[in-house]
Amino acid sequence: MAVFPELTPSSRTYTPGEHPNTPLMVLTGDESSVRHSNGAVGHRLRMTFKLLTQAENYSIIGHYSLHGRFVPFDLSATTLSAAGLTFPTNYQWIYAGTPETDEECGEITTTVELELIPPYTI
């Protein structure tokens, strides 16, 4: 699917994912943990784009409209520039929520939060 617009964010907040697991308390008082998957899930990336042009903001609006939380997509190197982040192979991003925009005196600031999901086939 279409890659996220090639925009460099003004700031990023990254929250790594974790392996799904269930902690179990045993009779001795020790705690065991059962891991349900080899994959990590729940990676979150929140990006703020400041001083966007109307066309740049519209590229995010259009991308969100056609993907939303449903259709997964990739991020370009531009969006992840200087992040030094690596992600599991074939994982893709979806929008964690609806992006938010603030416009005042022609200055556009948009915040986007993404969630990394493992691949699956229907």
Binding site: S65, G68, R69, P99, E100, E103
Partner: protein, 177 residues
């Protein structure tokens, strides 16, 4: 249905709405999503007005009362959005909450929060019919799927239907060639 007053705000804040989805969680993987329609809606639009006169404030009060508070839906002038093209121009809105007023002597600050109840359909129909070459002067056109100059023309030319040069396929339901 009374259109919202034509009062461009000093500041707008909005989100991009959401698809009609339901989700199921899994034990070992990510969320599984089900999309129920190709409609995008529920956008929230926050309008901030600063240092306005009582006449302008009264327009908002009157409109809120005419709309029966959060009950009735209405259209919003394009000037409210400025140059932002987030929803269709004929989208319908409701008040998300009563307008908030701040009285500063002669002037007023007020904030209005609206919610889009009829947002964007992501289904595009290409209608051919008895079309002829358009004589309309191309105009700048931007939609969620198309960007360029309208009208968009699909040229069939003298393509051989058994060995078409073009790769674009329009599927017209069960239509025969």
């Amino acid at each position: 249905m009374t259109t919202f007053p034509d009062l461009p705000p000093d500041r707008i804040g909005y989100d991009f709405g959401a698809l009609n989805l339901s989700e199921e969680t899994t034990i070992g993987g990510g969320p599984i999503r089900f999309r129920h329609s190709l409609s995008l809606g529920g956008h929230t639009l926050a309008l901030t007005y600063s240092w306005r006169t009582q006449t302008e404030m009264q327009q908002i009060r009157d409109h809120y009362n005419d709309a029966d508070g959060t009950h009735r839906q209405f259209e919003v002038p394009t000037t409210i959005w400025g140059t932002a093209a987030v929803v269709n121009t004929d989208s319908l809105y409701r008040y998300a909450e009563p307008p908030q007023e701040e009285h500063l002597g002669v002037f007023f600050n007020f904030t209005v929060r609206l919610r889009v109840v009829d947002g964007i359909s992501l289904l595009f129909d290409l209608q051919g019919g008895g079309a002829t070459q358009s004589t309309i002067t191309p105009t700048a056109f931007t939609s969620f799927a198309f960007a360029g100059n309208a009208p968009f023309i699909l040229n069939g030319g003298a393509a051989d239907p058994d060995s078409p040069a073009a790769t674009l396929i329009l599927q017209g339901k069960g239509a025969d060639r």
